[in-house]
Amino acid sequence: MKFADLISDVFLNLTRKKMRTALTMVGVVIGAVAVVTTVSLGHGLSAFLDQQVRAVANPLTVEAWPKKGASPDKVARGMFKSIGRAPQEIKKEKEDEFVGAFEIKTVEDEMMQKLEQIEGVDRVRPKVFVLARSFQLNGDPREFDAIVVPWIDAGPQVLSEGSVFSDDNATECIVSEAYLESLRTINRADPIWKDVPEEEIKALEGIVEPEDLIGKTITIRVVKHPMLALAGQGNMDMSAFDDLRGLLFLLRNPPQDFQLFLTELFLKLRELQNSEAIKAMSESEEEPIAFEAKVVGIAKKGLLTNIIYVPDEFAAEMGRVLFDNPEMYTEKNWGMGVVLLAKDKADVQRIKTEVKEMGFRAHTMEDIIGKLHAFFATLQSVLVIFGGIAFFVATFSIVNTLLMAVMERKREIGVLQALGATRAHIMKIFACEAAAIGLLGGLLGGLAGWLLIQGGNAFAHYKWGHIIASADIFVMPVWLFPVLLIFTTLLGLGAGVYPAYRASRLDPVAALRYE
């Protein structure tokens, strides 16, 4: 029999029991929809965040941190590793993982100079942290939330309008275009506007286009953090951790007497509650310090809508407030990490290697993106399991339907055998019917999934399109549809093997007698 005839017979047979064929396909369709949407979501988010990171992160930088020393993840690991385990011996090479041995390690000036000597390095800056409380356009009574980012961490690719900074310590800034959205929505009913003269409100309402904001002066308020202030001065108060450790010790080694245990627990909890360090971590009563800056440029819209970029030295100035330490980010105290700016992108990887050889932990923008992709790849494979379950169930449904079809069409099989059909031919008919169910299910599910992701993207554009320039949350990779069809067809074929084999082994005489 010719292949084309076989295929047309197969589809003719499937249309004989339309409802049953459709119901059998449901499992495959659900699986296909699940796979298309989850893979596209993972792919889309991964690509989207990749794009977002690239938009705001500087591809020329290498961040370096001393290997030994402060690292929040190490402390957390140290604290929770000991729960429920016998006390651990403190090994020299891992001592910074023990809470009690935790120390702040800063970059020494000598090291800083060595890092500057690396070939291809344009400059080395301390890794500056600024805790901004607010952004305020001068003359506007409103304050908006803000994230202050030193220019070295971003780079000129973020700029959409205006110019870069005139100087490393100029009191200038580049603000996100998204601020325009917030600024132009003025609610006059709000009492905050009561004392603002009408002409000033009018002037503020005139700020619509990016160029309207350029040249204006803004105020950035920066807070001081007592806990970090202590750390910045090199004598961080570790008593909070001690209090916590005391509590953990009590929970792990409760006294025999329950009443005594409760009393001790109460005392420990109260101790923790009254701990100066814990209080310091959660409260900041000091007034924020205000910095004025002139807007020289507008940055493209991104996922983080409230970004303000400032020149590196200006950022360091603000960073010193956070640590309440005028020596911070100077040769006397370079802080806990540094950023190296490469002259050329081609040198970034080599610089990273050299920095590591000098005893630092180092990472680049590509490392962050790599981790992001790895995370989404894992997430995707977990999500695909749901589709896998649907496919697994669909397999049984196909086997069941075909076994039923073999029973029902027993006499037809006998007739075909009498007319000269070989075992292989009978087998092909049923196996191809199963494969066709898989193929059609994959096709329908793939299309339904595609429609769903179009809907999802339309929703994302509707919801976030005004803030984020491109918000395709679902991106269907080109290979997905063909791979899905091949997979569902093979799945059907696999499910069809047993029923097809049963059909091909029927005794023609018995099959013809079957009522």
């Binding site: 005839d5 075909l416 007319l419 000269g420 013809l512």
Partner: protein, 228 residues
């Protein structure tokens, strides 16, 4: 040369612990181009003989040779090829495929033989015309009368120019008049197309039209009649 030769042909079925000898050492010969009738009471082995001659079943012992081919030595694939190319079956219950039209039913063996669509169309139209149903080709079996269905089945049996046609009670489900017409058609085909034909029948009138009659009883040959 004889078209059919069986020697000591035996077919034993097992029903539980019991052995049923459906055919028990049957030896017959049918000359080429002859119309032969197999008669006998129910359970005498008529249908078993037909299944063995048609390669649907294999003997437990003995030999069965059709046009020089020893069927008992053939593999399942060879038997399928034999059924496709050398045998045409006609059944009491017609066994047409209900979802196919008369013409499409006739096309089934042609499809199995990998004929091109155009050739298939021409051949099936020719056969439907031959059995006098030229105007009913596009009808589904349930739109046809019993006699018409059997004519479609005859056309289908002739599709691949078989040398042997095997008919199992072809008139069993038809009224007398229609049954007679069917027999006339078969007799005519046998005479015109020179194909060997074996009819299994209960009907003495039908059997009387055959050149050779084999009367079976309990799987054995009871009587052989040759008409001159």
């Amino acid at each position: 040369m004889a078209a059919i030769e069986t020697e000591n042909l035996t077919r034993i079925y097992r029903v539980g612990d019991e052995e049923v000898r459906a055919l028990d050492g049957l030896s017959i010969t049918v000359p080429e181009g002859a119309l032969a009738a197999v008669v006998g009471p129910s359970g005498s082995g008529k249908s078993t003989l037909l299944a063995l001659l048609g390669g649907l079943d294999t003997p437990s012992a003995g030999r069965v040779s059709v046009h020089g081919d020893a069927l008992e030595r053939m593999t399942p694939e060879q038997l399928a090829a034999y059924r496709l190319n050398s045998v045409g079956f006609i059944f009491q219950d017609f066994f047409l495929l209900g979802h196919l039209t008369a013409l499409e039913n006739v096309e089934v063996p042609l499809k199995l033989a990998s004929l091109e669509r155009k050739e298939r169309r021409a051949r099936s139209a020719e056969l439907i015309e031959l059995v006098g149903l030229g105007h009913r080709g596009g009808h589904l079996p349930n739109q046809l009368s019993g006699g018409e269905r059997q004519r479609v089945a005859i056309a289908r049996a002739l599709a691949n120019h078989p040398k042997l046609v095997l008919a199992d009670e072809p008139t069993g489900n038809l009224d007398e008049k229609i049954g007679r017409e069917i027999i006339e058609t078969l007799v005519k085909l046998n005479a015109e197309q020179k194909m060997t034909m074996v009819l299994v029948t209960h009907n003495p009138e039908v059997a009387a039209r055959a050149a050779r009659q084999f009367r079976l009883g309990s799987g054995k040959l009871v009587e052989e009649t040759v008409q001159e």
